[in-house]
Amino acid sequence: MFKKILIANRGEIAVRVIRACHEMGIAAVAVYSDVDRASLHVLKADEAYPIGAPAATESYLNIPKILDVAKRSGADAIHPGYGFLSENARFAHACADAGVKFIGPTAASMEAMGSKTRARQAMEKAGVPFVPGTSHGLESFDEAAQVAQRIGYPVMLKAAAGGGGKGMRLVHAPSDLKSALEAARSEAERSFGDREVYIEKAIVNPRHIEMQILADEHGNTVYLGERECSLQRRHQKVLEEAPSPIVDPDMRRRMGEVAVRVAQAARYTNAGTVEFLVDQQKNFYFLEMNTRLQVEHPVTELITGLDLVHLQIHIAAGERLPFRQEDISIRGHAIECRIYAEDPDNNYFPSPGKITLLLAPAGPGIRRDSGMYQGWNVPLDYDPLLAKLIGYGTDRDQAISRLTRALDEYFVGGIKTNISLFRRILNDREFRAARLDTGFLDRMLERNENKKSDAAAADVAAIAAGLFAALGANASATKSAGANGASRAQDDDSRWRAVSRREALR
């Protein structure tokens, strides 16, 4: 087993991996950019190394700096978390060259899956079901028009190197195809430096369901059940659950077996996720494979009783999977809320700043994976994911009710968060009935929320406001908030650079 693992990440996922290391008796090495000196992952690590400026290219995406820390610290493995370098085949290569084990698949598997078109070609050979379309980049507008004609409108144009909805265009009619193709190409070029775009039949109101797999380095591959990830805003996942309310044991077995076939075709090792689109007749189509640990892995952990990060580390150390497919059972229901520092009343604009008060929920059925603490100053340089709140229950209704209760206990003072969004989702009649698809959340948000103002609660607020004032300085930590606000206003443009990167995190 490894003696020391470097975690090439920050935030809640870095803390989550550090915890796994400590549970396994492995020393954890943190890296941090200049704005992350006081971040939780630095406090929790056994060793911590500064790696430079806030811009991720200068720090968390900087391969030479991270490998230098691995060398200096004597780490024998690197866990990349999600985002940043986690799906970077060059990094996996560089780790191998440096003699440090990359905890994830091989560079070759990543490359096989990194391009959507190449993955499609490989998977076609393995007999994996696809949305009808091309498995290669479109050569010309004429080709696009012909394929679209054949598979039928509406069609979807997608960037081969894509992710996060970038370089994607839905086309309803032949007349819109040309401009959509040009727009998708130029957006793909801008976003990924690669203008390759392919075409697929558009599935109307699909569900997004993904299958977790684990593969050891001895040829054993298992699936751990699916996650329902249809709740998305602007193609970003917001809330995930497991199992999917529409997947029965037979469908789970069929999807799982396809996912295992996908992984085996790519000679995949370690943890990975095979994403599917599911249409209204419950046909499922291979979408892509994510070659890393997902943000939403905890919901799978809760329903299977397994620890995916422990298993990742065991696999990377060359161990065999400690169970077979038939040993894996699914029990109960789990739902994850991604708690972001963003303002739901103002177009989900990022809301950095100092956390003046943090009241965290606990109790039965509640798991909290958090990267924040009271007194911490949330930087604006990275994805504003603060924490994940995961609720488990005997069934979906109980998971929802426990999560609702926990959200009511959650309080993050001093910054705006999207906690209220989750209250609204969990309380939504359509959500409770599990009538979900990838358009659900945008439709829900378009409906006006009928905020009935509670006069009794307003009276309570009035009295409390007076009491806080009467109790004076000791009653409040918010006096300093003014100064904090001022410092925020002085932030320079560089703090904005990295925000777009969150779009790559799904």
Binding site: I419, A457, A465
Partner: protein, 164 residues
């Protein structure tokens, strides 16, 4: 002590007195039986009659919020006798500069000079990294001046409008 308290734009007159370990309370003239304990800074355990509330206080970008359970209220408290409050009240009645909190581009100006606005009326929309941020008027008044135009870049702190 008498406070003028504004909760979500609605004004209340609050009369609080503390004697013999008990609070007496008049809210808009109504006597209420209250019992309050500060559990920790910013967290008040408040009983009104026998109802129990966990009330939180926070300040975000200069705005005071009071949370009753999971409901948020914008709050402002003025002590009519206090000098500092009087100064603040005066400021509230005088011209108020509305500034950009973050650097970005003005994509839309939503009001005209001379227009009357309510507290909360959108003044301009500033975009940064493809995310749009609507800047709102903190008070009711007349838009005196709009020194920016659609399309211009602004830095944090730049004045977007003055409302009097």
């Amino acid at each position: 002590m008498i406070y003028d308290v504004t909760i979500d734009g609605k004004n209340h007159r609050l009369d609080l007195n503390h004697a013999d370990g008990r609070w007496s309370c008049l809210l808009d003239g109504r006597p209420l039986q209250i019992d309050a304990v500060l559990a920790r800074p910013d967290v008040l355990s408040l009983r009104i009659g026998d109802m129990s509330y966990e009330v939180k206080s926070e300040c975000v970008a200069g705005d005071l919020h009071i949370w009753v359970g999971s409901a948020r209220f914008a709050a402002e408290v003025r002590d009519p006798r206090s000098l500092r409050s009087r100064a603040r009240a005066a400021d509230d009645h005088g011209p108020r500069k509305i500034t950009a909190a973050m650097p970005g581009k003005v994509v839309r100006v939503l009001v005209n000079e001379g227009e009357e606005v309510e507290a909360g009326t959108g003044i301009a929309v500033v975009e940064a990294m493809k995310m749009q941020n609507e800047i709102k008027s903190p008070k009711k008044g007349i838009v005196q001046k709009i020194p920016v135009k659609e399309g211009v870049a602004v830095n944090a702190g730049d004045v977007l409008a003055v409302v009097e």
